[in-house]
């Protein structure tokens, strides 16, 4: 036993501990003082809206606004020609920078668009004397051209590729900005004209995307590569801070003054009456002076920050649903929370699906017609054995919307009368199919199920394996194919190296064309048709419908395409996830994460029930 004399060192340690405790107590007291100061004045919280996102953009360049997080910022820092009405559902296009909807020629090939007068870019050193100049039609032309300049590393060119006369050849000729594109012209400072190669009814939707936001050439050239973190736009907000954890936007004091109209935004008292939006009528957006956006990928942290009152908006983590919801369908808040918060359940504008790689002869197309039929039977058996209800229950808290095929519920063309039996599990049917086509445990092929390495994806794989086990698929013949990052996974499936590809698709605009194109033959990998699906009739229908305006006939054609994919058993699909969004009752807002998202920031306001005044 070792003992160094009496207890002096212990006393010494006690002194040290006492000192540390005193220091900690001082910190606590200081903190308490600081916090009470912060919490004292509610005035600030009325003009500051604190939003949370479960991901972060790395670039604020609209040309790289490829996901919802980047779009949220792009459409607030920049102007797009069009936007979606704040409240109208199904979604409806509305003028933003454009002065009215486009004038379209009778053949649907020429779009003429006027832009509003007197709109200015924000003041910035990129401009002479630092004064933001007027936004011109030429700026739109420049902004679209940037997508076709490889130096921009733009991600939105696919929206207009092969659509606008001369744009693709402009790129092939070296992307010289001083060279005119015949199909993309500024007729004068306020008028622009787009000439299409063939009719493209979704064009106006693409002009509501963050990708189409209008940037000034001076700023792009002034900041060079750093333009991605120095946004210079004409949107309702300008940026004051941006890093990996947060972004701060402040009101653009020169933003055009357009009174808010409930009717024009699609207000329906039955649907929106509870949100306190009526008091906003006639006021000039943006209603909030400052928007603080926290990028919080970690569910627990995001939820704790919201509960502590540090955030005004949260997408509730699935792990908290039991604590938050009184009932699931429809989602209703527990009474204590309902007193403090509003809730909406936001159906995602997309879906999750698992595609078969039709290019893989073990499961997809096979040169031998007989084997081809057997492969199809195998795919259909797998689909029948897949239990969507369990998938929904385990991973989406049972509030996702399961549907069959490739037109998700958020699309206006979704068939609400779809037969639920299409997504009902049918184990007997699956076994019969296997046996009728000569499949047995000995000759079933090894299934390689790809996914980026993370716990949830792994759990989904294990669930898939257990589903297949129930039709006699040997567990050792269903193997995980894991990748370190989503980028690596994407590389593999775009190179046709993955047999079963699970991905999610978020619709870019509310038109089922955006999802049926996922199975259009010419779009096969490395295009968005990851299944490498090819069906002549499907392709014919797609080509015919792609130039049609929305109509009953076009909807029927989309639904026909949907049935073809279902009949061919090309994909195990699918589920649209539902998000539970919460915000304090004193905020007058209706948040939305669907489609482009983010346009609602300009309409966020404190309701101030006592005075009837909304913050300006």
């Amino acid at each position: 036993m070792t003992c160094w004399g009496k207890l002096n060192p212990v006393n010494l340690f006690r002194y040290q501990f006492a000192l540390l405790s005193a220091a900690l107590a001082a910190v606590l007291m200081l903190t308490a003082c600081d916090q009470s100061t912060d919490k004292a004045g509610p005035a600030n919280s009325f003009t500051i809206y604190r939003h949370s996102m479960d991901g972060a953009p790395s670039s604020l360049d609209p040309a790289q606004a490829s996901h919802i997080y980047a779009n949220f910022l792009a459409v607030n820092l920049y102007d797009t020609l069009y936007r979606y009405k704040y409240l109208a559902r199904p979604y409806q296009l509305e003028s933003n920078l454009a002065d009215g909807l486009p004038q379209v020629s009778a053949d649907g090939l020429i779009y003429t668009i006027r832009i509003k007068p007197g709109v200015h870019f924000i003041d910035d050193p990129a401009f002479p004397e630092g004064k933001g100049r007027v936004v011109r039609a030429e700026d739109f032309v420049y902004s679209i051209k940037r997508h076709f300049d490889p130096r921009t590393r733009a991600q939105g060119a696919w929206l207009w590729q092969g659509r606008i006369v001369g744009l693709d050849s402009w790129k092939e000729d070296g992307s010289d900005y001083d060279r005119e594109v015949p199909g993309l012209k500024a007729l004068d400072d306020r008028t622009l004209q787009i000439q299409l190669i063939s009719p493209f009814p979704q064009l106006t939707h693409t002009l509501a995307q963050g990708f189409s936001a209008i940037v000034p050439r001076e700023a792009v050239e002034y900041y060079g590569q750093e333009f991605a973190i120095h946004p210079v736009g004409s949107g309702p907000y300008r940026l004051t801070l941006f890093n990996s954890a947060s972004a701060v936007l402040v009101r653009n004091s020169h933003f055009r003054e357009e009174p808010f109209s409930l009717e024009a935004e699609g207000y329906d008292p039955d649907m929106h009456g509870q949100f306190g939006l009526e008091r906003l009528e006639g006021r000039i957006p943006p209603f909030t002076d400052r928007i603080e956006i926290e990028f919080i990928a970690e569910d627990a942290s995001r939820w704790n920050a919201f509960i502590a009152g540090e955030l005004d908006f949260v997408k509730v983590p699935v792990s908290q649903f039991d604590q938050v919801l009184q009932s699931r369908e429809p989602p209703v808040l527990k009474p204590a929370l309902a007193e403090q918060y509003h809730l909406i359940s936001n159906l995602e504008s997309g879906f999750v699906h698992t595609d078969f790689n039709m290019d893989d002869p073990r499961i997809g197309y096979h040169p031998d017609p007989e084997q081809n039929i057997r492969n199809k039977a195998l795919r259909c058996a797998i689909i029948k054995a897949f239990d969507w209800q369990k998938r929904n229950e385990v991973f989406y808290y049972g509030i996702g919307q399961v549907f069959a095929g490739i037109i998700p519920p958020a699309a206006p063309e979704f068939d609400t009368r779809q037969d639920p039996a299409l997504v009902a599990r049918d184990l007997d049917g699956a076994r019969e199919l296997l046996s009728a086509h000569g499949w047995h445990t000995g000759n079933l092929p090894v299934l390689e199920y790809g996914f980026p390495a993370n716990v949830t994806e792994r759990q989904m794989f294990e669930q898939f394996r257990s589903f297949m086990g129930e039709i006699g698929y040997p567990a050792d013949k269903i193997r995980p194919l894991t990748f370190a990052t989503y980028g690596d996974y994407a590389r593999a499936f775009l190179n046709r190296e993955v047999m079963l590809i699970t991905t999610g698709w978020t619709m870019d605009y509310p038109d089922a064309e955006n999802t049926v194109q996922l199975f259009f033959g010419p779009n096969s990998s490395p295009g968005s048709n990851s299944a490498n699906y090819s069906n002549r009739e499907f392709d014919r229908l797609y080509r015919s419908s792609s130039s049609m305006q929305a109509s009953d006939m076009r909807t029927a054609m989309y639904r026909n395409m949907n049935e073809i994919v279902i009949d061919d058993c090309a994909t195990i699909s699918g589920v649209s996830r539902r998000m539970i969004l919460l915000w304090p009752r004193d905020l007058a807002v209706l948040p939305d994460r669907s489609f482009t998202g983010g346009f609602f920031f300009r309409f966020v306001a404190a309701a101030e029930p006592d005075t009837g005044e909304a913050p300006q």
Partner: protein, 312 residues
């Protein structure tokens, strides 16, 4: 002088070796950013364009040469994701990480040394068992659990609601203390067990040596034995542990702390670079960490000579 030159020459070789290995790993096994940057419905030509823009189509030797040139000139290029110069990113994030990590690092080590001494002094008795038991308990609890527990306990209405859950709006000492307190407690909690176990082992070994017995025979006080003989003679392993932790604290930061507390430090930036395959940022962080390790090693060798002149 000769000692210094020899250390620097060794250091340079070490940097070359470390950078070559890490660069090879990044190039061959690191994430490929092409498919994160490419748009929907990309054609093979567009994929090739992106690869060209990212420099993936250049020969390995040229890319490695460029990397070394960047490191030696400290012109680290620009992030592939944001276009921001890497040096600017580091200038913005490293001070935040330092301000975040230093209190926890210092407290964790000081408390670890104090508890290690206490435990060593009472080796085998209930105090030692208690300290050791608590250390093992601390080591066994996941960092993530500690963070979430302390957030709930100290920062939410479910607990004391004293500190902000997250953020870093530091304008004055008061706000600094407010934002750094819970991350520091988390860091101390998670490192204390490891530190205490390590220091205890060092001090126990030292206290069994002849010169300690001799000092005790001469009637030296406990305090003198502890501070003058045990601690001072244990300085080589203590310094080694502390010094070699510094580059990780400075450069790599703490990903979990920064992510969960919403602090824009270098740890979060590094993690994002790893997952997105942002090689300019990743190369800079890996390279600078290697350089920092080598510099720390050289500095540590000099300090060894100061605390123990017997070291050649």
């Amino acid at each position: 002088m000769r000692f210094a030159l020899s250390k620097i020459a060794h250091g340079l070789l070490l940097i070359l070796g470390v950078t070559l290995i890490s660069f090879t790993l990044m190039v061959w096994f690191g994430p490929d950013q092409t498919y994160s940057l490419v748009g929907k419905n990309a054609t093979p030509e567009q994929i090739a364009e992106i690869r060209h823009e990212l420099g993936y189509d250049q020969p390995f030797a040229r890319r490695y040469g460029g990397y070394l040139a960047q490191l030696f000139t400290l012109n680290l290029g620009a992030s592939n994701s944001s276009g921001e110069p890497v040096s600017q990113i580091l200038k913005r994030t490293v001070p935040v990480t330092l301000a975040l990590m230093i209190p926890g690092f210092v407290l964790g080590n000081l408390l670890g040394i104090a508890l290690g001494l206490l435990s060593a002094q009472h080796k085998g008795r209930w105090i030692d068992r208690l300290v050791t038991g608590l250390s093992v308990t601390g080591m066994s609890i996941s960092f993530l659990v500690i963070i979430i527990f302390l957030q709930v306990l100290l920062s939410t209405p479910y607990g004391l609601n004293l500190f902000p859950v997250r953020g870093w709006q530091v304008d004055d000492p008061g706000s600094y203390l407010r934002y750094v307190a819970v991350p520091t407690l988390s860091l101390v909690f998670v490192t204390l067990g490891y530190n205490t176990r390590f220091y205890r082992a060092v001090f126990v070994e030292e206290s069994g040596r002849d010169h300690i017995r001799t000092a005790r025979a001469f009637g030296a006080s406990t305090a003198t034995i502890l501070w003058k003989h045990v601690l001072k003679n244990s300085m080589v392993p203590v310094l080694t542990r502390i010094m070699f932790s510094i580059p990780l604290v400075v450069i790599s930061g703490s990903l979990l702390i920064e992510s969960y507390f919403g602090i824009p430090g270098v740890g979060k930036v590094t993690f994002d670079a790893i997952t997105s395959g942002d090689q300019p940022v990743l190369k800079a962080v890996v390279g600078l960490t290697a350089v920092a390790f080598v510099l720390i090693q050289i500095l540590t060798d000099f300090i060894y000579k100061l605390v123990d002149p017997r070291i050649a």
